[in-house]
Protein backbone atom coordinates (compact mmCIF):
# COMPACT_ATOMS: atom_id res chain seq x y z
CA UNK A 1 0.00 0.00 0.00
CA UNK A 2 2.97 2.29 0.64
CA UNK A 3 3.88 2.01 -3.05
CA UNK A 4 0.27 2.71 -4.02
CA UNK A 5 0.22 5.92 -1.97
CA UNK A 6 3.48 7.13 -3.47
CA UNK A 7 2.22 6.39 -6.98
CA UNK A 8 -0.96 8.34 -6.27
CA UNK A 9 1.03 11.38 -5.10
CA UNK A 10 3.34 11.22 -8.14
CA UNK A 11 0.34 10.92 -10.47
CA UNK A 12 -1.31 13.95 -8.89
CA UNK A 13 1.89 16.00 -9.17
CA UNK A 14 2.19 15.08 -12.85
CA UNK A 15 -1.39 16.12 -13.54
CA UNK A 16 -0.85 19.44 -11.73
CA UNK A 17 2.38 20.07 -13.68
CA UNK A 18 0.69 19.33 -17.01
CA UNK A 19 -2.16 21.66 -16.06
CA UNK A 20 0.33 24.45 -15.39
CA UNK A 21 1.85 23.92 -18.82
CA UNK A 22 -1.60 23.94 -20.41
CA UNK A 23 -2.58 27.21 -18.78
CA UNK A 24 0.78 28.81 -19.52
CA UNK A 25 0.26 28.26 -23.24
CA UNK A 26 -3.33 29.53 -23.39
CA UNK A 27 -3.48 32.78 -25.37
CA UNK A 28 -6.85 34.11 -24.28
CA UNK A 29 -8.30 34.03 -27.80
CA UNK A 30 -11.39 32.37 -26.47
CA UNK A 31 -13.65 33.47 -29.29
CA UNK A 32 -11.79 31.28 -31.76
CA UNK A 33 -12.32 28.24 -29.55
CA UNK A 34 -16.12 28.35 -29.43
CA UNK A 35 -17.64 25.35 -31.25
CA UNK A 36 -20.04 26.24 -34.05
CA UNK A 37 -23.09 24.66 -32.39
CA UNK A 38 -22.47 26.72 -29.22
CA UNK A 39 -22.01 29.89 -31.26
CA UNK A 40 -25.41 29.41 -32.88
CA UNK A 41 -27.34 28.91 -29.66
CA UNK A 42 -30.26 31.30 -29.28
CA UNK A 43 -30.85 33.18 -26.05
CA UNK A 44 -34.28 32.06 -24.79
CA UNK A 45 -34.58 35.25 -22.70
CA UNK A 46 -33.80 37.55 -25.60
CA UNK A 47 -37.20 39.19 -25.95
CA UNK A 48 -38.26 39.05 -22.34
CA UNK A 49 -38.56 42.58 -20.91
CA UNK A 50 -37.52 41.61 -17.37
CA UNK A 51 -34.41 39.76 -18.47
CA UNK A 52 -32.23 42.88 -18.72
CA UNK A 53 -33.20 44.02 -15.22
CA UNK A 54 -32.63 40.54 -13.81
CA UNK A 55 -29.33 40.34 -15.67
CA UNK A 56 -28.27 43.69 -14.22
CA UNK A 57 -28.84 42.29 -10.70
CA UNK A 58 -26.73 39.23 -11.46
CA UNK A 59 -24.02 41.41 -13.04
CA UNK A 60 -23.80 43.64 -9.97
CA UNK A 61 -23.58 40.62 -7.65
CA UNK A 62 -21.01 38.60 -9.55
CA UNK A 63 -19.30 40.53 -12.36
CA UNK A 64 -19.09 44.23 -11.46
CA UNK A 65 -16.09 44.01 -9.19
CA UNK A 66 -13.84 42.84 -12.02
CA UNK A 67 -15.52 44.45 -15.02
CA UNK A 68 -16.67 47.68 -13.34
CA UNK A 69 -20.08 48.81 -12.15
CA UNK A 70 -21.03 49.82 -15.69
CA UNK A 71 -19.01 47.11 -17.45
CA UNK A 72 -16.38 49.65 -18.56
CA UNK A 73 -13.59 47.36 -17.31
CA UNK A 74 -10.95 47.87 -14.64
CA UNK A 75 -7.15 47.98 -14.63
CA UNK A 76 -6.79 44.24 -15.10
CA UNK A 77 -10.12 43.19 -16.61
CA UNK A 78 -11.59 44.11 -19.98
CA UNK A 79 -14.56 46.32 -20.78
CA UNK A 80 -17.67 44.47 -21.85
CA UNK A 81 -18.62 47.34 -24.15
CA UNK A 82 -15.84 46.43 -26.59
CA UNK A 83 -16.52 45.57 -30.21
CA UNK A 84 -15.47 41.98 -29.51
CA UNK A 85 -18.21 41.49 -26.92
CA UNK A 86 -20.90 43.68 -28.45
CA UNK A 87 -20.47 42.92 -32.15
CA UNK A 88 -18.21 39.95 -32.81
CA UNK A 89 -19.52 37.64 -30.09
CA UNK A 90 -22.95 36.10 -30.40
CA UNK A 91 -25.12 35.33 -27.38
CA UNK A 92 -24.02 31.72 -27.85
CA UNK A 93 -20.34 32.72 -27.75
CA UNK A 94 -20.84 34.58 -24.48
CA UNK A 95 -22.81 31.67 -23.03
CA UNK A 96 -19.93 29.35 -23.90
CA UNK A 97 -17.44 31.72 -22.23
CA UNK A 98 -19.51 32.01 -19.06
CA UNK A 99 -19.94 28.24 -18.84
CA UNK A 100 -16.30 27.37 -19.50
CA UNK A 101 -14.50 30.42 -18.22
CA UNK A 102 -11.04 31.39 -19.41
CA UNK A 103 -9.09 30.28 -16.36
CA UNK A 104 -5.68 31.01 -17.80
CA UNK A 105 -6.71 34.67 -18.09
CA UNK A 106 -8.42 34.81 -14.68
CA UNK A 107 -12.01 34.43 -15.88
CA UNK A 108 -13.76 31.74 -13.81
CA UNK A 109 -16.57 29.50 -14.98
CA UNK A 110 -20.02 30.72 -13.94
CA UNK A 111 -21.82 27.48 -14.60
CA UNK A 112 -22.93 27.45 -10.97
CA UNK A 113 -25.35 30.26 -11.84
CA UNK A 114 -27.29 27.90 -14.08
CA UNK A 115 -28.37 28.44 -17.68
CA UNK A 116 -31.29 30.84 -17.02
CA UNK A 117 -29.14 33.33 -15.06
CA UNK A 118 -26.32 33.06 -17.58
CA UNK A 119 -28.71 33.96 -20.41
CA UNK A 120 -30.16 36.80 -18.33
CA UNK A 121 -26.77 38.36 -17.69
CA UNK A 122 -26.01 38.10 -21.41
CA UNK A 123 -29.23 40.04 -22.09
CA UNK A 124 -27.92 42.79 -19.81
CA UNK A 125 -24.41 42.84 -21.29
CA UNK A 126 -25.77 42.98 -24.83
CA UNK A 127 -28.08 45.84 -23.84
CA UNK A 128 -25.01 48.02 -23.16
CA UNK A 129 -24.03 48.60 -26.79
Amino acid sequence: MKNGGALLVVAMLLIVASSLALFATSNGAWLANVPQRDRERVNPYRDQPDAVAAGRRIFVDHCAHCHGDNADGTKKRPSLKSARVQQEATDGDLHWLLVNGNRGQGMPSWIKLGDPQIWQVICYVKSLH
Binding site: M1, V16, F23, H62, H65, K112, L113, G114
Partner: protein, 308 residues
Protein backbone atom coordinates in the same frame (compact mmCIF):
# COMPACT_ATOMS: atom_id res chain seq x y z
CA UNK B 1 -39.15 10.87 25.03
CA UNK B 2 -37.68 10.05 28.47
CA UNK B 3 -35.79 12.26 30.89
CA UNK B 4 -32.38 11.35 29.46
CA UNK B 5 -33.50 12.29 25.95
CA UNK B 6 -34.84 15.61 27.22
CA UNK B 7 -31.56 16.31 28.96
CA UNK B 8 -29.54 15.59 25.85
CA UNK B 9 -31.73 17.90 23.78
CA UNK B 10 -31.31 20.64 26.39
CA UNK B 11 -27.54 20.09 26.36
CA UNK B 12 -27.45 20.28 22.57
CA UNK B 13 -29.44 23.51 22.64
CA UNK B 14 -27.07 25.00 25.23
CA UNK B 15 -24.11 24.16 23.05
CA UNK B 16 -25.90 25.62 20.04
CA UNK B 17 -26.48 28.84 21.99
CA UNK B 18 -22.83 28.95 23.06
CA UNK B 19 -21.78 28.61 19.44
CA UNK B 20 -23.96 31.45 18.29
CA UNK B 21 -22.73 33.63 21.13
CA UNK B 22 -19.10 33.06 20.20
CA UNK B 23 -18.14 32.21 16.65
CA UNK B 24 -21.28 33.16 14.85
CA UNK B 25 -21.57 36.44 16.70
CA UNK B 26 -18.04 37.21 15.55
CA UNK B 27 -18.89 36.49 11.92
CA UNK B 28 -22.13 38.45 12.09
CA UNK B 29 -20.20 41.35 13.60
CA UNK B 30 -17.68 41.08 10.79
CA UNK B 31 -20.53 41.39 8.30
CA UNK B 32 -21.81 44.51 9.99
CA UNK B 33 -18.39 46.12 10.30
CA UNK B 34 -17.29 45.43 6.75
CA UNK B 35 -17.36 48.70 4.83
CA UNK B 36 -20.24 48.89 2.41
CA UNK B 37 -17.88 49.31 -0.54
CA UNK B 38 -16.53 45.81 0.07
CA UNK B 39 -18.54 43.81 -2.39
CA UNK B 40 -19.63 40.58 -0.83
CA UNK B 41 -21.11 37.75 -2.77
CA UNK B 42 -22.10 34.21 -2.04
CA UNK B 43 -23.49 31.58 -4.36
CA UNK B 44 -22.56 28.30 -2.84
CA UNK B 45 -23.75 24.75 -2.82
CA UNK B 46 -25.26 23.69 0.51
CA UNK B 47 -22.71 20.97 1.28
CA UNK B 48 -20.93 20.52 4.60
CA UNK B 49 -18.63 17.57 3.85
CA UNK B 50 -18.75 17.18 0.08
CA UNK B 51 -16.55 19.34 -2.13
CA UNK B 52 -17.88 20.37 -5.51
CA UNK B 53 -15.76 21.08 -8.59
CA UNK B 54 -16.23 24.82 -8.11
CA UNK B 55 -13.09 26.79 -7.34
CA UNK B 56 -12.92 30.08 -5.49
CA UNK B 57 -12.85 32.98 -7.94
CA UNK B 58 -9.32 34.39 -8.26
CA UNK B 59 -8.69 37.10 -5.65
CA UNK B 60 -11.81 36.34 -3.60
CA UNK B 61 -11.63 35.43 0.08
CA UNK B 62 -14.33 33.24 1.58
CA UNK B 63 -14.59 33.27 5.38
CA UNK B 64 -16.71 30.43 6.72
CA UNK B 65 -17.62 28.99 10.06
CA UNK B 66 -18.86 25.41 10.10
CA UNK B 67 -20.33 23.70 13.15
CA UNK B 68 -21.55 20.24 13.94
CA UNK B 69 -23.54 19.33 17.03
CA UNK B 70 -23.89 15.73 18.14
CA UNK B 71 -24.79 13.61 21.10
CA UNK B 72 -23.09 10.22 20.90
CA UNK B 73 -24.83 7.46 22.85
CA UNK B 74 -23.04 7.01 26.16
CA UNK B 75 -21.02 10.20 25.73
CA UNK B 76 -21.34 13.94 26.20
CA UNK B 77 -22.91 16.34 23.71
CA UNK B 78 -20.37 18.27 21.70
CA UNK B 79 -20.00 21.00 19.14
CA UNK B 80 -17.15 20.79 16.69
CA UNK B 81 -16.29 24.04 14.91
CA UNK B 82 -13.90 25.17 12.28
CA UNK B 83 -13.18 28.55 10.79
CA UNK B 84 -12.09 28.46 7.18
CA UNK B 85 -10.28 31.02 5.06
CA UNK B 86 -10.58 30.08 1.40
CA UNK B 87 -8.71 32.11 -1.20
CA UNK B 88 -8.70 31.87 -4.98
CA UNK B 89 -5.08 32.09 -6.09
CA UNK B 90 -5.80 31.26 -9.74
CA UNK B 91 -8.78 30.10 -11.69
CA UNK B 92 -7.45 26.56 -11.35
CA UNK B 93 -5.92 26.79 -7.85
CA UNK B 94 -7.71 27.41 -4.56
CA UNK B 95 -6.03 27.33 -1.17
CA UNK B 96 -7.72 27.08 2.21
CA UNK B 97 -6.63 27.30 5.83
CA UNK B 98 -8.71 25.88 8.69
CA UNK B 99 -8.63 26.36 12.45
CA UNK B 100 -10.47 23.65 14.38
CA UNK B 101 -11.89 23.57 17.90
CA UNK B 102 -14.57 21.87 19.91
CA UNK B 103 -16.58 22.13 23.10
CA UNK B 104 -17.83 19.07 24.94
CA UNK B 105 -20.53 19.25 27.60
CA UNK B 106 -19.20 18.63 31.13
CA UNK B 107 -15.61 18.61 29.82
CA UNK B 108 -13.83 21.49 28.14
CA UNK B 109 -13.55 23.81 25.15
CA UNK B 110 -10.29 23.27 23.30
CA UNK B 111 -8.38 24.15 20.16
CA UNK B 112 -7.78 20.96 18.22
CA UNK B 113 -5.47 21.94 15.38
CA UNK B 114 -5.17 23.33 11.89
CA UNK B 115 -5.41 22.16 8.31
CA UNK B 116 -4.09 23.54 5.06
CA UNK B 117 -5.46 22.34 1.78
CA UNK B 118 -4.98 23.10 -1.89
CA UNK B 119 -7.30 22.21 -4.72
CA UNK B 120 -6.22 22.00 -8.34
CA UNK B 121 -8.45 21.81 -11.35
CA UNK B 122 -6.52 20.12 -14.17
CA UNK B 123 -9.01 20.66 -17.01
CA UNK B 124 -9.65 24.22 -18.07
CA UNK B 125 -13.09 23.76 -19.63
CA UNK B 126 -16.36 22.35 -18.37
CA UNK B 127 -17.06 18.70 -19.10
CA UNK B 128 -19.75 16.22 -18.14
CA UNK B 129 -17.56 15.25 -15.20
CA UNK B 130 -15.01 17.73 -13.90
CA UNK B 131 -12.15 16.42 -11.78
CA UNK B 132 -10.44 18.41 -9.04
CA UNK B 133 -7.41 17.19 -7.08
CA UNK B 134 -7.30 17.95 -3.38
CA UNK B 135 -4.22 17.77 -1.15
CA UNK B 136 -4.40 18.57 2.55
CA UNK B 137 -2.01 18.53 5.48
CA UNK B 138 -3.60 18.23 8.91
CA UNK B 139 -1.99 18.83 12.27
CA UNK B 140 -4.77 18.00 14.68
CA UNK B 141 -5.25 15.99 17.83
CA UNK B 142 -7.50 13.07 18.66
CA UNK B 143 -10.08 15.35 20.29
CA UNK B 144 -10.97 16.92 16.95
CA UNK B 145 -14.72 16.74 16.42
CA UNK B 146 -15.21 18.90 13.35
CA UNK B 147 -16.16 15.82 11.27
CA UNK B 148 -14.95 17.45 8.06
CA UNK B 149 -14.66 13.98 6.65
CA UNK B 150 -15.35 10.44 7.80
CA UNK B 151 -12.73 7.88 6.84
CA UNK B 152 -11.59 4.41 7.79
CA UNK B 153 -13.36 3.11 10.86
CA UNK B 154 -14.21 6.50 12.35
CA UNK B 155 -17.28 6.00 14.51
CA UNK B 156 -19.23 7.05 17.54
CA UNK B 157 -16.83 5.29 19.91
CA UNK B 158 -14.16 7.88 19.04
CA UNK B 159 -16.38 10.48 20.70
CA UNK B 160 -16.52 8.66 24.04
CA UNK B 161 -12.87 9.35 24.83
CA UNK B 162 -12.60 12.32 27.23
CA UNK B 163 -10.95 15.47 25.90
CA UNK B 164 -8.01 15.38 28.30
CA UNK B 165 -7.02 11.96 26.98
CA UNK B 166 -7.96 12.35 23.33
CA UNK B 167 -5.97 15.57 22.88
CA UNK B 168 -2.74 13.72 23.75
CA UNK B 169 -3.06 11.81 20.49
CA UNK B 170 -1.31 13.91 17.83
CA UNK B 171 -2.42 13.32 14.25
CA UNK B 172 -0.32 14.67 11.43
CA UNK B 173 -2.04 13.46 8.35
CA UNK B 174 -1.94 13.75 4.59
CA UNK B 175 -5.34 13.70 2.95
CA UNK B 176 -5.94 13.27 -0.75
CA UNK B 177 -9.27 13.60 -2.48
CA UNK B 178 -10.46 13.07 -5.98
CA UNK B 179 -13.38 15.43 -6.45
CA UNK B 180 -15.72 14.83 -9.35
CA UNK B 181 -18.48 17.29 -10.13
CA UNK B 182 -21.16 17.79 -12.75
CA UNK B 183 -23.75 20.47 -13.45
CA UNK B 184 -26.78 19.13 -15.25
CA UNK B 185 -29.92 21.19 -15.87
CA UNK B 186 -29.39 23.28 -12.76
CA UNK B 187 -28.47 20.32 -10.57
CA UNK B 188 -25.02 19.95 -9.08
CA UNK B 189 -23.82 16.40 -8.50
CA UNK B 190 -20.55 15.99 -6.63
CA UNK B 191 -18.63 12.89 -5.57
CA UNK B 192 -15.51 12.75 -3.42
CA UNK B 193 -13.16 9.80 -2.96
CA UNK B 194 -10.92 10.24 0.06
CA UNK B 195 -7.60 8.66 1.04
CA UNK B 196 -6.02 9.70 4.32
CA UNK B 197 -2.66 8.71 5.79
CA UNK B 198 -1.39 9.32 9.27
CA UNK B 199 2.25 10.22 8.71
CA UNK B 200 3.16 8.41 11.94
CA UNK B 201 2.60 5.14 10.13
CA UNK B 202 -1.02 4.01 10.38
CA UNK B 203 -2.48 2.42 7.21
CA UNK B 204 -4.23 4.46 4.53
CA UNK B 205 -7.87 5.09 5.39
CA UNK B 206 -10.61 5.59 2.85
CA UNK B 207 -13.92 7.38 2.69
CA UNK B 208 -16.39 9.01 0.36
CA UNK B 209 -18.87 11.87 0.19
CA UNK B 210 -21.70 12.48 -2.22
CA UNK B 211 -23.91 15.52 -2.66
CA UNK B 212 -26.65 16.65 -4.99
CA UNK B 213 -28.32 20.06 -4.90
CA UNK B 214 -30.26 22.61 -6.89
CA UNK B 215 -31.45 26.19 -6.47
CA UNK B 216 -35.19 26.26 -5.80
CA UNK B 217 -35.54 28.68 -8.72
CA UNK B 218 -32.97 28.97 -11.49
CA UNK B 219 -33.91 32.27 -13.12
CA UNK B 220 -33.31 35.53 -11.27
CA UNK B 221 -36.21 37.90 -10.69
CA UNK B 222 -36.01 41.47 -11.93
CA UNK B 223 -36.47 42.92 -8.44
CA UNK B 224 -34.42 42.45 -5.29
CA UNK B 225 -35.94 39.89 -2.96
CA UNK B 226 -34.99 38.34 0.35
CA UNK B 227 -36.91 35.12 0.80
CA UNK B 228 -37.66 34.27 -2.82
CA UNK B 229 -36.92 30.79 -4.13
CA UNK B 230 -33.80 31.83 -6.06
CA UNK B 231 -32.08 32.61 -2.74
CA UNK B 232 -32.36 29.01 -1.51
CA UNK B 233 -30.44 25.93 -2.54
CA UNK B 234 -31.52 22.53 -1.29
CA UNK B 235 -30.11 19.06 -1.66
CA UNK B 236 -29.01 15.82 -0.13
CA UNK B 237 -25.65 14.79 1.27
CA UNK B 238 -24.29 11.34 2.12
CA UNK B 239 -20.85 10.36 3.39
CA UNK B 240 -19.02 7.72 5.35
CA UNK B 241 -15.97 5.54 5.82
CA UNK B 242 -14.77 2.81 3.50
CA UNK B 243 -12.35 1.02 5.79
CA UNK B 244 -8.60 1.05 5.43
CA UNK B 245 -5.75 -0.64 3.61
CA UNK B 246 -6.11 -3.67 5.88
CA UNK B 247 -9.81 -4.07 5.17
CA UNK B 248 -11.61 -2.07 2.50
CA UNK B 249 -15.41 -1.93 2.71
CA UNK B 250 -18.33 -0.84 4.84
CA UNK B 251 -17.72 -3.20 7.78
CA UNK B 252 -17.39 -1.23 11.05
CA UNK B 253 -17.74 2.15 9.38
CA UNK B 254 -20.09 5.03 10.11
CA UNK B 255 -22.42 6.38 7.44
CA UNK B 256 -24.53 9.55 7.37
CA UNK B 257 -27.32 10.87 5.18
CA UNK B 258 -29.36 14.04 5.38
CA UNK B 259 -31.13 16.87 3.59
CA UNK B 260 -29.35 20.20 3.41
CA UNK B 261 -30.38 23.76 2.61
CA UNK B 262 -28.77 27.18 2.42
CA UNK B 263 -30.03 30.73 2.11
CA UNK B 264 -28.21 33.65 0.55
CA UNK B 265 -29.03 36.64 2.75
CA UNK B 266 -29.20 40.14 1.23
CA UNK B 267 -26.02 41.43 2.93
CA UNK B 268 -23.89 38.74 1.32
CA UNK B 269 -24.06 36.23 4.13
CA UNK B 270 -24.92 32.62 3.40
CA UNK B 271 -26.47 30.48 6.13
CA UNK B 272 -26.75 26.72 5.78
CA UNK B 273 -28.32 23.97 7.88
CA UNK B 274 -28.49 20.20 7.67
CA UNK B 275 -29.72 17.47 10.01
CA UNK B 276 -27.77 14.33 9.17
CA UNK B 277 -28.74 10.88 10.33
CA UNK B 278 -26.48 7.99 11.21
CA UNK B 279 -27.39 4.99 9.10
CA UNK B 280 -26.01 2.28 11.38
CA UNK B 281 -25.18 1.61 15.01
CA UNK B 282 -21.58 2.64 14.47
CA UNK B 283 -22.64 6.21 13.65
CA UNK B 284 -23.77 9.04 15.90
CA UNK B 285 -27.60 8.93 15.66
CA UNK B 286 -28.09 12.55 14.54
CA UNK B 287 -25.71 15.37 13.64
CA UNK B 288 -26.91 18.94 13.27
CA UNK B 289 -24.70 20.99 11.00
CA UNK B 290 -24.93 24.71 10.43
CA UNK B 291 -22.67 27.31 8.89
CA UNK B 292 -22.29 31.01 8.20
CA UNK B 293 -20.08 32.35 5.44
CA UNK B 294 -19.03 35.57 3.74
CA UNK B 295 -17.25 35.93 0.47
CA UNK B 296 -15.27 39.13 -0.07
CA UNK B 297 -14.58 39.86 -3.71
CA UNK B 298 -11.04 40.83 -4.75
CA UNK B 299 -9.90 40.89 -1.14
CA UNK B 300 -6.41 42.33 -1.57
CA UNK B 301 -7.51 45.09 -3.96
CA UNK B 302 -9.08 46.83 -0.96
CA UNK B 303 -5.61 47.39 0.51
CA UNK B 304 -4.22 49.05 -2.61
CA UNK B 305 -4.22 52.79 -2.98
CA UNK B 306 -7.28 53.72 -4.95
CA UNK B 307 -8.73 50.25 -4.58
CA UNK B 308 -12.48 50.26 -4.86
Amino acid sequence: MDLADNRSVVNALRILKLSFLTGHAALLLLGILLPSYLKIDCQEYPYFVTYSQEMEEPGNLDIEMFNVVGNPQGGDSFIGSDVEFEYGLKGWWTTEFYLDGQATQNQSTIFTGFRWENRFRPLSREHWINPVLYVEFEDINGANKSLKEVVGHDGRYDFLVPNWLARMDKERELELKLILGSNVRGWNISENFIAEKNLAGDPWEFGYAFGVSRALQLAASARECTFCAEKFQAGLEMYGGLGDANGFGLHLTSQYLGPTINWSAPNGMTVAFSPQFGLNGYSIPVLYRFSVSYEIQQFFSHFHRGGS
